[in-house]
């Protein structure tokens, strides 16, 4: 699905990612943990094509294609989805309108006709129920005035509707209360499929209680410094990142 080799990324002159390697197979769930400022969001942005980052070395292959050659919207249409750490507000654009436009853009790319209005409404209401959201959120402006947790939930709603192949979740659990975390995790779990992979960035082992990862990585100082099974997260929780850094050093 995704193969990252020796990825080096700068912001301006400042190196952020410094030789990152990561392989994700179809159907796998990978978790990335790491201290603040390690470069986790940077990785998610580079994968989704945000401007402002310079790739100075390395390759990223997604479904056999050079991902870095594609425009951000092309990547999205080919199934790369990023649930943002800080979802942005778009005044005046209703949530449901954005989702319909997005779904149609993706369908068009796949050579499918535009979604029928009634079918779409049924689909959306179904997913809204899955994420235990109020239907009112559909008609509000995208993220405008949403609480932190509501914004995160709304990101997963979009993932559920757009059905991406590679789903990158950047700290989706931050800002969620305990009940919301369970609901969102259930939403993510319902999306798990053989042909869909996840890259979950998180600070908390708690999320991984609900969404069982196949592999856990530690990202520190721009590199993956350690990888392991779910037990690695527990160890990190107990010993902190210092422990990994010391091990690596």
């Amino acid at each position: 699905m995704l193969s990252i080799e020796n990825l080096h990324v700068n912001v301006g002159d400042k190196p952020i990612l410094k030789g990152l390697n990561l392989q994700i197979k179809a159907g796998e769930v990978h978790a990335i943990m790491g201290p603040n400022g390690a470069g986790k969001s940077t990785l998610s942005h580079v994968l989704s094509g945000k401007s402002g980052y310079t790739v100075t070395a390395g390759n990223v292959t997604y479904q056999g294609e050079n991902l870095l050659d594609l425009e951000p919207d092309e990547r999205a249409r080919k199934g790369v989805f990023l649930a943002f750490q800080y979802p942005v507000e778009i005044p005046g654009v209703s949530n449901i309108y954005l989702m319909k436009a997005a779904l149609n853009a993706i369908r068009k790319h796949k050579g499918l006709p535009e979604v029928d209005a009634m079918d779409f409404l049924t689909l959306v209401k179904d997913k809204v129920k899955l994420l235990e959201m109020d239907e009112k959120f559909l008609y509000r402006s995208v993220n405008e005035g949403f609480s932190g947790g509501e914004k995160k939930r709304n990101e997963i709603l979009q993932a559920a509707i757009l059905e991406p192949s590679l789903c990158i979740l950047d700290e989706t659990d931050s800002g969620l209360d305990i009940d919301a975390l369970k609901v969102v995790a259930a939403g993510v779990n319902s999306l798990r499929a053989e042909d869909r992979s996840f890259l979950m960035i998180t600070h908390y082992q708690r999320l991984l209680d609900y969404i069982k990862p196949d592999i856990v990585h530690v990202l520190a100082d721009g590199k993956i410094v350690k990888s392991g099974g779910p037990e690695l997260a527990l160890e990190l929780e107990a010993k902190g990142y210092r422990w990994v850094e010391e091990q690596v050093a």
Binding site: S48, G49, K50, S51, G52, E71, P72, D73, R75, A76, R77, F81, L82, F84, P87, V88, I90, P91, G92, V93, Y97, L98, M99, A101, A102, L103, A105, I106, H109, S141, Q158, L162
Partner: protein
């Protein structure tokens, strides 16, 4: 009128009575403007005498006036003597015979707007057979209006059939000497719309220039007069959403609205004249005077405009709130791209007690364009309890364009409440990236964000208009993102 002036008038009209037959063979006047030209124009149109007097008076006044000072506008001077002031309606044989003869770029835009083929032909001025759906539509439409007692016709026709009505109201809202372009229009206007809604009548349908078949060719000096008598209601739609190319560089229209007790006029405009190319070559100068007088108590006027066309737009639809409790509203979206310039806004003049006005103006600047909001809220001494709310929002697309806001306020009545809010924002990279990350192209993303920005104005538009206006914004923004 002094005797000498009367004599001159008589002389002129006599002279052209003789010249009438031969002159009629001339399809287009040679360029230039003087009293003879005006007399000839009036004669060709067979106007009543008061009309010629009116025109000449306006012309004489115009000659003493100077062009307004173009505060924010950069404009090449207009030579008024190089314009031809009358051109007969095109004969079918002079018109393009099919869409094959029309500029493909224009057709492409029509297509993107989803305009049906027959409508495309009409817009492009193609000669079409009379066996045509819109003809029968127009006929049923006329019957219905007639039953309701509504008069809706070209103003030239109204001058023939209802001269007393025209005489009673023409120039009473926008006096012929009001401003340079209004005076010029009064002197030389060729056609436009006339609407009269009788007492107690709710116009059974929205009146749109679409149904008035000749609307597209009313030329550069259009004149519109709408009267809503007591307890009546009308919604009027002007313009079309597809770009209209026109060889006339200058458009100087005048629109007058008269609203009596408890009556309401809703006036919606989508202006999409040719804006010129991306280098600023060509394009229409659109200098329009629009004003409504709420004469009656509890009367209401609502202007809604979507301005995306023209190289230069200079336009301030205004409301004079004379009647107690009368209401004026102005909802505006003005979008400029490339090298377009827009200087638009409104004037709300509060005279009566408890008069209320609302101004919502959304300006979007893209490319290297300049977009100015200029508005005046004036509350007179007698306007006890007057209230105004103004909101001006500017949105910048890119960093080479400009947005300017000039809200003038003059309050002479201490009990008045005047509120003003203004914001300027840019489409943020984060918003753009967010939309792209959901699969939308950069252009679609900008168009969606801009449409969201305009939502509070679009919801004031009649449904079909709103849908087309949205599509139009997208097209007008093309090329605005790298």
């Amino acid at each position: 009128m002094s005797t000498s002036a009367q004599e001159i008038d008589n002389l002129i009209s006599q002279k052209y009575k003789e010249g009438f037959v031969t002159e009629l063979e001339v399809d287009t006047f040679p360029p230039g403007l003087d009293e003879e030209v005006i007399a000839k124009l009036s004669a060709i149109k067979g106007e009543p005498e008061f009309m010629l007097d009116y025109r000449l008076k306006a012309f004489r006044h115009w000659q003493t006036m100077t062009e307004p000072n173009w505060a924010q506008l950069n404009i090449t001077p207009i030579d008024y003597q190089s314009i031809s002031y009358y051109s007969a309606p095109k004969k079918d044989s002079d018109k393009p015979q099919s869409l094959d003869e029309i500029d493909p770029e224009l057709l492409e835009t029509y297509k993107k707007l989803g305009i049906p083929l027959d409508e495309q032909e009409r817009l492009a001025g193609v000669a079409v057979d009379a066996v045509f759906d819109s003809v029968s539509v127009a006929t049923t439409f006329k019957g219905k209006l007639k039953d309701a007692g509504v008069i809706f016709c070209p103003i030239s026709e109204a001058l023939q059939e209802h001269p007393e009505l025209v005489k009673q109201y023409l120039g009473t809202v926008v006096p012929s000497g009001d401003n340079f372009f209004a005076a010029l229009n009064a002197a030389v206007f060729t056609d436009g719309s006339f609407v009269y809604i009788p007492k107690g009548v709710r116009c059974p349908m929205e009146l749109s220039t679409y149904f008035r078949i000749n609307a597209a060719n009313t030329g550069q000096f259009e004149r519109t007069l709408i009267i809503a008598d007591e307890d009546s209601h009308v919604s009027y739609l002007e313009g079309c959403t597809a770009p209209m190319r026109d060889e006339n560089q200058l458009h100087a229209a005048v629109v007058e609205l008269v609203v009596m007790d408890n009556a309401e006029i809703k006036y919606s405009t989508v202006q999409n004249w040719y804006p010129g190319d991306e280098n600023g070559v060509g394009g229409i100068y659109n200098f329009v005077t629009k004003r409504a007088e709420c004469r009656g108590a509890n009367s209401k006027v609502s202007w809604t405009q979507v301005e995306t066309g023209s190289a230069i737009t200079w336009k301030y639809p205004s409301c004079v709130l004379l009647g107690d409790n009368s209401i004026g509203e102005f909802y505006s979206v003005a979008l400029t791209n490339n090298l377009q310039q827009a200087d638009t806004g409104t004037k709300m003049i509060h005279v009566g007690k408890n008069t209320r006005s609302t101004i919502i103006a959304k300006g979007i600047s893209a490319g290297r364009s300049q977009n100015t909001y200029r508005g005046l809220v004036k509350v007179g001494k007698a306007a006890i309890g007057a209230r105004n709310y103004t909101q001006c929002d500017s949105l910048l697309v890119g960093d080479k364009c400009g947005a300017h806001t000039f809200p003038y306020v003059e309050v002479k009545q201490p009990s008045a409440q005047v509120e003003h809010e203004a914001t300027t924002s840019k489409i943020s990279e984060d918003q753009l990236f967010f939309c792209q990350q959901r699969g939308l192209s950069a252009e679609d993303a900008v168009s969606m964000i801009v449409n969201g920005f305009c939502k509070s104005v679009f919801k004031e538009l009649p449904m079909e208009f709103a849908v087309e206006a949205q599509a139009l914004l997208g097209i007008s923004l093309e090329g605005s993102v790298g």
